[in-house]
């Protein structure tokens, strides 16, 4: 067996008052992709920072991190600097903030070359051009600023920057998490190509099992700062040895898997319907372009699409926040055009809303009970006593229990907060629930339980739902029907099973193909070629 290039042995990282990483040992072999998976707070990102000596002030690392026989922990700043970039490089999750907004991208890549001894400006410029070419960015765009690139392009530039000084090891921390799925597929392909071409050893930090299945050779599962198991990727997916890994894999929503039982379509008048709807934002092309769709009572309509597709805009139209430039919007049979504030308010009473990030949508200074009773207060439903009783009943329904009523949002976990948001949305017994990416900010096991709760509540209350999501697998699990949007237009719509397994449009096909399947063999068989061809077809 070959010697590892990077050996982490008994690494512990302590912050004042907390231990983030406890006795972690990992060995990264040359030319392999080792995935580190785990949910938020598992210590995977802290481990990466500790390797490069970039922990925030106050944190202390003990144990050993050895690269190519050299101990990195406790190395002085200048010696570490020479390792960073040239031997071990790091790529981050969020490409939009990983680049300096006020400098040209070519300059930023050039800075790395300069730091590693490329003195001549001319030589740097040439090398920057080469690097950009390698990641699929036209070299002449070196003179552009980050804001002039798309998210996927930025991540390509970040990769070029990280690889500028020709490192042996690349640590990629959630490199595709912030990207749309078709872009994610492209970046994964690029990562694979770079890894093979440069014989890089990659430490891939991710929470996405599909990405793991696509790229990894071996997988380490982390939880609460510890490594639970390290396995060959196929063995992990086939037979995880720990209970936690089993649960983690089981919570991953899968596209192919049968979603909910399809309910027969009702003939009842729709609760929300738009006809030939056009919405403009000033100075831009149509945000929504001639959309026609309807949500019938008791139905869950999944609205999917990538960023900028107009799905959130449609959600804002549904709650009467945005008016139509042309076409009609009907809410519970009433045309919203020309409606007064009072009438609109009466209609809004029948809509519940759940947002993406419960940390931001709950008032941090209000208790859980106050947050849930707020809609009842606003619409003057019942007496203060009955409102509290109703809120407590809702807390029971979202499986939190009334004892949570006195807590503040910061005393809750992400999943618990989203349960509170759900309880608040249901306080007025809405006929329509608008859920905008309700589980995107949650860990996968938490997402699974929130989705389960959502299905139960929907069954019990029978509300109709406009469920907005970028995650096809999640929509597959909860929606009766799916509408696919792109660039403000409706690409197709129909029963969930039909649209997601036998899409009629090339774009939907590309979307479905881009979602990495959490199964190593299946994913490797189906990936690149199909995705690329289907993308080209839609271009």
């Amino acid at each position: 067996m070959t010697d590892p290039v990077l050996t982490i042995d008994g690494l512990s990282v302590r912050f004042p008052g907390a231990t983030a990483v406890e006795d972690v040992s990992l060995a990264l072999l040359p030319d392999e992709v080792l995935a580190v998976v785990g949910e938020s707070g598992s210590g995977k990102s802290v481990t990466a920072l500790a390797v490069l000596g970039l922990l925030p002030p106050g944190a202390t690392a003990t144990g050993s991190v050895a690269f190519d026989g050299q101990e990195l922990l406790g190395l002085d700043e200048e010696a570490l600097r020479r390792v960073r970039g040239a031997r071990i490089a790091l790529v981050f999750q969020e490409p939009s903030t990983a680049l300096n907004p006020v400098e040209r991208v070519g300059w930023q890549i050039g800075e790395v070359l300069r730091a590693h001894g490329v003195k001549s400006r001319q030589a740097r410029a040439e090398r920057v051009g080469e690097l950009l070419g390698q990641v699929g960015i036209p070299p002449e765009r070196a003179r552009d600023y980050p804001h002039q690139f798309s998210g996927g392009q930025k991540q390509r530039i970040v990769l070029a920057l990280a690889l500028a000084a020709d490192p042996d090891v690349l640590i990629a921390d959630e490199p595709t998490t912030a990207l749309d799925v078709t872009v994610q597929a492209e970046i994964l392909a690029l990562l694979r190509e770079l890894q093979r071409g440069r014989r890089l050893a990659v430490l891939l930090i991710t929470h996405n099992m599909g990405v793991v299945a696509d790229l990894a050779d071996r997988v380490a599962v982390m939880r609460d700062g510890r490594v639970l198991e390290t396995q060959d990727v196929r063995r992990l997916f086939a037979a995880p040895s720990t209970e936690y890994a089993r649960e983690l894999l089981a919570s991953v929503p899968r596209l192919g898997r049968q979603g909910r039982a399809v309910r027969p379509a009702t003939e009842a008048a729709p609760v929300f319907a738009v006809d030939d709807l056009v919405v403009d934002y000033p100075g831009r092309k149509a945000a929504l372009d001639r959309i026609t769709l309807a949500v019938t009572p008791g139905e869950v309509l999944g609205l999917v699409g990538e960023s900028g597709s107009g799905k959130t805009t449609l959600g804002r139209v549904a709650v009467g926040r945005l008016g139509a430039a042309s076409g009609t919007v009907r809410l519970f049979g009433t045309d919203l055009a020309g409606l007064g504030r009072r009438e609109l308010r009466a209609l809004r009473k029948r809509i519940g809303v759940v947002h993406q990030d419960p940390a931001a949508s709950l008032d941090p200074r209000r208790t859980v009970l106050e947050s849930i009773t707020e809609p009842l207060d606003v619409h003057r439903v019942g007496t203060p006593a009955t409102r509290v009783a109703r809120a407590e009943e809702l807390l029971e329904q979202v499986a939190l229990g009334r004892s949570y009523g006195s807590r503040l949002p910061r005393e809750l976990s992400g999943g618990q907060r989203q349960r509170v948001a759900l309880a608040r949305a249901l306080a007025l017994e809405p006929d329509l629930l608008l859920a905008d990416e309700p589980t995107s900010a949650l860990d996968v096991s938490v997402q699974a339980s929130v989705l389960e709760l959502f299905a139960e509540l929907q069954e019990a209350h029978g509300f109709a739902c406009l469920f907005i999501s970028h995650d096809l697998a999640v929509v597959n699990q909860v929606a009766d029907r799916v509408a696919v949007m792109r660039n403000g237009q409706l690409v197709e719509s129909g029963p969930t099973g039909e649209v997601l397994t036998r899409p009629s449009s090339a774009y939907t096909r590309a979307l479905v193909d881009s979602v990495p399947v959490p199964d190593p063999d299946e994913q490797r068989a189906r990936r690149l070629p199909t995705v690329l061809t289907s993308l080209k077809n839609t271009a």
């Binding site: 920072l49 490069l52 970039l54 925030p56 002030p57 700043e77 200048e78 600097r81 020479r82 390792v83 960073r84 970039g85 040239a86 490089a89 790091l90 981050f92 969020e94 903030t97 990983a98 680049l99 300096n100 907004p101 006020v102 400098e103 930023q108 800075e111 790395v112 300069r114 730091a115 590693h116 600023y145 804001h147 002039q148 798309s150 970040v158 920057l161 990280a162 500028a164 000084a165």
Partner: protein, 319 residues
């Protein structure tokens, strides 16, 4: 950019108009009037009344206001009651001195902020942090006139290395090295509070900036901490620091009055001090409106410079 400037012009005009009314009114609401001051302590009421008529102070305020405004707009702000001469010549005599003092102070303040700000943000030595915090607090907290007197006492009297006030006998332009000696104390005194606020702002922003992902990206790629701080992060801090500096010019204008008075520096500040004590309405009015114009124009310039420094603004929004 031209469109932006044109959009700003109406609000600029509005600010100046409002300021002119305010200045005109406030001066007249302050007790005492120039006629009594001119006539002297033993003057009869009739004599005072005669002077009032001569100066036009017996006319209605509205008439006085528009007469004054007309003078301003035709660049003929009239004559001084008390000091003598036209206001135009008074201003041109003092303007150069004040400009020299203000620009030297501004230079010192910016230099301090650019040197000490990064040092403060980048240091990991607790003693240095405490020292800088202490000096900074002192520089902001001690009033300008106290600081001025302390400086004079220390470096002009106890250890007499620098002149304690005034300007060189042969004028400011005759011998630069002598001019610097005279300039140093007042300029430092005026620069201290401005430089301190700016330094603190630069240091704090740099600290925030150093936690940004792009900084970690650069560090992780092997760029030295020093270069990331001084080149990558500082560049991001400049636009907003410039805005803070623009706002600080208000303190500069106010501080100049106190400093010129303390150090007998014959600039606009000293002129306005004499004019206020003498109730020399026309001079006070013109100087105040002048400082409003300077302040407003500087704000406009900083906004423009801010935009030019940020490529996201300069090149339009994200595509």
């Amino acid at each position: 950019m031209t469109a932006y400037l044109l959009r700003r012009l109406p609000s600029l005009a509005l600010v100046l108009a409002a300021a002119s009314v305010l200045i005109f009114a406030v001066i007249r609401l302050v007790p005492g009037d120039p006629a009594t001051a001119l006539a002297g302590a033993n003057a009869t009421p009739e004599a005072v009344e005669a002077i009032r008529a001569e100066l036009g102070l017996d006319r209605p305020w509205v008439t006085q206001y528009f007469a004054w405004l007309g003078g301003l707009l035709t660049f003929d702000p009239g004559r001084s009651y008390l000091i003598g001469g036209t206001i135009g010549s008074l201003i041109t005599e003092s303007l150069g001195n004040t400009l020299l003092l203000a620009s030297s102070s501004l230079f010192l303040a910016v230099l301090t902020a650019l040197v000490l700000g990064p040092l403060w943000a980048g240091t990991r030595k607790p003693w240095l942090e405490h020292l800088l915090t202490g000096i900074n607090t002192l520089a902001v907290a001690v009033p300008t006139f106290v600081m001025g007197v302390a400086l004079i006492l220390l470096l002009g009297v106890l250890v007499p290395v620098l002149p304690s006030g005034g300007v060189p006998r042969d004028g400011l332009l005759a011998n630069p090295s002598i001019t610097v000696q005279y300039l140093l104390l007042p300029a430092v005194c005026l620069a201290l509070p401005i430089g301190a606020v700016l330094t603190r702002y630069v240091a704090e922003s740099l600290r925030t900036e150093m936690a940004q992902p792009y900084v970690v990206t650069a560090l992780a790629a092997g760029v030295s901490r020093r270069r990331v701080l001084l080149r990558h992060a500082l560049r991001n801090v400049l636009p907003t620091s410039l805005t803070v500096l623009g706002l600080q010019t208000g303190a500069l204008l106010g501080g100049a009055v106190l400093v010129e008075f303390t150090f007998s520096w014959p600039g606009l500040g000293l002129l306005i001090e004499r004019a206020i004590t003498g109730r020399d309405y026309p001079v006070v009015q013109v100087l105040l409106i002048l400082s409003v114009v300077v302040f407003a124009v500087l704000q406009l310039l900083t906004d423009v410079a801010h935009a030019l420094l940020d490529p996201r603004v300069r090149l339009g929004g994200a595509r």
